[in-house]
Subunit: 576 residues, 2 copies
């Protein structure tokens, strides 16, 4: 969070790539290629859903296009392919993308590496294709745009043939005009080519100033007219009007967090299943909670068909079938939350966060509260084997600034994890759930404590113990069993459940000290993952029990034994 | 490495997904969707290059197809789109992909999320498309395969319409036949449908056994015949024959690592530039060193056109233009090394390893020594801003088992980093380089020490110091300047350069103790990145100087100052 404070210092600088919240008019952060068009698909989907929900026969509250300018580099990225394919599948007719087809990449001509028939490819996704032969031909661009606007059932790709660095006598049409400045001399030559005074800097020609001045007035007029529409709408439909204002403000309705599922001690429930229960309940209360899975809805616990499903021409449902497109899915969710009116979630197996990282990182940088539901969170998933078993992912996600990773240890911690994620407004949360059953702990001891990131689950919380056992997720029950062994031999042992390191590190020093007294150096951490993120809590004397490499294909129980992640190992480490 | 030892324990188990090295006949590890087809593109490219280099008019040493079976899930993944597009661009005619078009995903019919015209899409990439209407029609499959084989200038997609779980009376054609077992009763019904004995388990029908038995004999015949060809070839072309054997064995030629560039103390050189020098030298000595960049060749220092460039119909060059396809690039490199005869490298900015992670992880799991050249490694890249500035990536990459991350601190460390990467044979190496200049340190003190992961760069290496300053990459020079300040005030200070944590952790305890004496607790680590991976070396008493969040857009010098990553800050921390 310190980093974020630093970040604000830089608001006065012009970012090197477009960054939302820094420069007026910037609607999303781009730069990493393919992210812009993919985020835009989420914005267009958000518009389609809100239009369907809120517009009435008499009043049109929501009716705007999402415009994208994309380069060949953007279109080469896989994430763009994923998102564009889904946009075509869903028929997002208000999405219009101008392809800046300048035939130049940084390394040279696109013929070095990009031989695709781009139009045909987008046609295969179900897009309308329009070609503009000359990017300087404003009339042709206008005609193309109008044609795109008229098609309400297909997204449109307008392929605009352009010349990079146009007007620069020596660099136009060359890759030299891409990544580096033209240079002083070439700038002068370019100004001369345009008939501009060569010594003027940041020149705004009079006709441009006039044109843009009109844009401001037009914008104000449009906004006033929309405001009028909204007032008429709200007085004709007071409930809908209030709901619109609520959703766009990001406020959740009164009582949304009351009487959520409570789980009794004992029994065994996979946290993905307790998550499904809580999510199902929340979706009923919060229509803005919209999302889905990358083709693992049943496994991820995101299958709640009673709240409807988004499909081509019918956008109101709360479930989106993203297909096997993890990266596009994450970018689309960022677009929905940037649009406003949504709290999107998306889901897959934890190991596949690897596919989503560029979009997760951008959500963190943009401070967008997307929720990622990541199940099958360790070797505990069993027979699927090491390709599906995350071992480094908890550390790797905890490493991303402003991403909070919550891995609850039982069903009640899962409820609290959801509350924590829903209350975050300034960044994304990764919710990490087991495939396999885990016992429900003492609900009293859990309480709302998980929201503080780490807390004393068992043992005297007033008196410093001889040993501290730290754990998250499915390993909390291993730590509890290890504590029984240690206490039986007379060692005063505390179990600290650590569902969220980021939340714990944000607590005041008193809480941190109360939970992890700094003079108790006999510490063992247990997590069915690699150790990197635990060392800060272990110091040189502490011991980590977990994974040292990749997993293997076998039932969960066998794997925990074979990899030595057991209560016996934890107790033995504490004894040592 | 302990993890890898564990890993071997499991060789006797059948993996849940195909894993190379575990089951005979498995040529690559798949499971994470899209990786198989993308890896296959690398295999096909390897075949094309070796065929061009080694075949003569009289002897054909290399002439094989690469066959892929891909699902709709594979084809939905962006990585598959990237790799397939490049395969079409390069005209890899010996790549043949059967698309298992069963219209079923885990969540239900493909109509939920996958409305593409797949054939048209692959046509847009430049592939040949053949359709087989019935996956049970062996004659049609054979005809299609022959047609695919005849086309040597385009990869072929054979779209095979199939029924998932065919023969199962209640689950055929349904998603129930995808992710979970049929169940005992349904298995019996299915066997009954096929007219098989319902109580037989692992039944191999006689005609199948006969057919497969012939395959074994045919394989032996083919291998013997190839061996004959090779012997004739080697006797007619002894140099080429020896070179073939050398390359396929993975042995590097005598003296490959001698007389590499030495850099004199002083001066300032970006490590990406010293890397470019060393790489250029190595490419001249090692024709198997083949690779390129995702459209940043100049920036990454991988522009060595004197060794030729791969293009459609001409595959011998050592440079590949991957286009802006980081993920596909990484998977293709894994395929080349799996094929044999290559030491592939690929390059982009460090921040974009996020796009490549699934393929990096698979290379690590498969123990394939791909080399990733990752430049622009910190806020030191400057004006491009936080979207391009890695802060969490060093920790996030260090977290992946069997990935070694080497971030050299100067030009001579860069040479050693390359030697280290080239000598690795059992896993991938990420080479991390600066954009900005860094001073060259005392070459004597550097020596070959970087290969041990961490070493004493300055200060008495026999006597335990009062303070230890640890650093990697561009921050080594900051630690050196901080040492000057501390020594000037009489504090005996050691600078430990840490180019590779994984290499250091693999050293014996004596070396580790000699470099980082365990009783010296006054330790400061400095790295222009977040702290996670450093805590294990800092303990509770140590201090980390680095990033706490995302970067910003400004010149490198300004950023280091503003984020407090300075010699003054390091010295002050040590004094505290």
């Amino acid at each position: 969070l310190d980093g974020l404070k630093n970040f604000r210092q830089w608001d006065s600088l012009t970012p090197g790539h477009p960054e939302v919240h820094h420069t007026p008019g910037i609607e999303t952060t781009t730069g990493p290629l393919g992210q812009g068009i993919s985020t835009a698909v989420g914005m267009a989907l958000a518009e389609a859903q809100l239009a369907e929900i809120f517009n009435t026969e008499d009043h049109t509250l929501v009716d705007h296009r999402t415009y994208v300018i994309a380069s060949d580099g953007d279109l080469m990225e896989g994430v763009a392919a994923e998102a564009a394919s889904l946009a075509g599948h869903l028929g997002l007719g208000k999405l219009i993308c101008y392809f800046d087809d300048n035939k130049i990449t940084i390394d040279g001509g696109t013929d070095l590496s990009f031989g695709e028939d781009v139009g045909k490819r987008f046609e295969s996704y179900g897009w309308q294709i329009i070609t503009v032969e000359d990017g300087e031909d404003l009339a042709a661009l206008r005609t193309a745009t109008h044609e795109a606007q008229r098609n309400l059932t297909q997204p449109t790709l307008i392929m605009v043939r352009t010349i990079i660095g146009i007007g620069s006598p020596n660099k136009a049409g060359k890759s030299a005009a891409h990544g580096s400045p033209l240079g002083e001399q070439e700038i002068e030559l370019t100004k001369a080519h345009y008939g501009w005074p060569t010594d003027a800097s940041f020149l705004v020609p009079a006709d441009v100033a006039e044109h843009m001045g009109k844009a401001v007035a037009r914008g104000q007029r449009d906004q006033a007219s929309w405001q009028e529409t909204f007032e008429a709408y709200a007085s004709a439909n007071p409930e809908k009007g209030a709901e619109w204002s609520r959703r766009m403000s990001g406020q959740m309705p009164e009582g949304w967090d009351q009487n959520l599922p409570q789980f009794e001690e004992g029994g065994s429930l996979a946290t993905r299943k307790s998550s499904a229960k809580v999510l199902g309940e929340l979706m009923g209360r919060l229509p803005e909670l919209v999302g889905g899975s990358a083709d693992l809805a049943g496994s991820n616990g995101t299958k709640h068909p009673q709240y409807g499903t988004v499909s081509r021409g019918s956008y109101t449902g709360q479930t989106i079938h993203f297909g096997v497109r993890e990266h596009g899915m994450a970018a689309i969710c960022a677009g929905m939350v940037l649009h406003g009116g949504f709290r999107p979630f998306c889901a897959t197996f934890l190991v596949f966060t690897d596919y989503m990282r560029p979009a997760i990182r951008l959500a963190a940088l943009m401070k967008q509260p997307v929720i990622y539901i990541m199940t099958h969170d360790s070797i505990g998933l069993g027979e699927d084997g090491p390709t599906h078993q995350p071992v480094e992912h908890l550390s790797a996600l905890r490493a991303i600034p402003n991403v909070h990773v919550v891995r609850p240890g039982d069903a009640n911690e899962t409820r609290e994890a959801w509350l924590y994620a829903m209350r975050r407004t300034d960044g994304p949360t990764v919710l990490v759930f087991t495939r396999q059953g885990v016992p429900t702990q003492n609900a009293q001891a859990v309480g709302h404590n998980p929201q503080k990131g780490a807390y004393v689950l068992a043992g005297d919380d007033q008196k410093a113990p001889e040993a501290i056992l730290m754990a998250s997720g499915s390993e909390v029950s291993i730590a509890m069993a290890a504590r029984d062994m240690l206490e039986a031999k007379g060692t005063a042992t505390r179990v600290v459940s650590v569902p969220c390191m980021e939340a714990f590190l944000a607590q005041d020093a008193d809480w941190q000290q109360a939970v992890l007294p700094s003079d108790v150096r006999c510490r063992v951490a247990v997590e069915a993952a690699t150790d990197m993120s635990w060392h800060r809590f272990l110091g040189f004397e502490g011991v980590f029990i977990g994974m040292k490499g990749f997993g293997a294909s076998a039932p969960a129980k066998v794997l925990f034994e074979k990899f030595g992640i057991t209560a016996e190992a934890v107790a033995a480490a504490a004894n040592r």
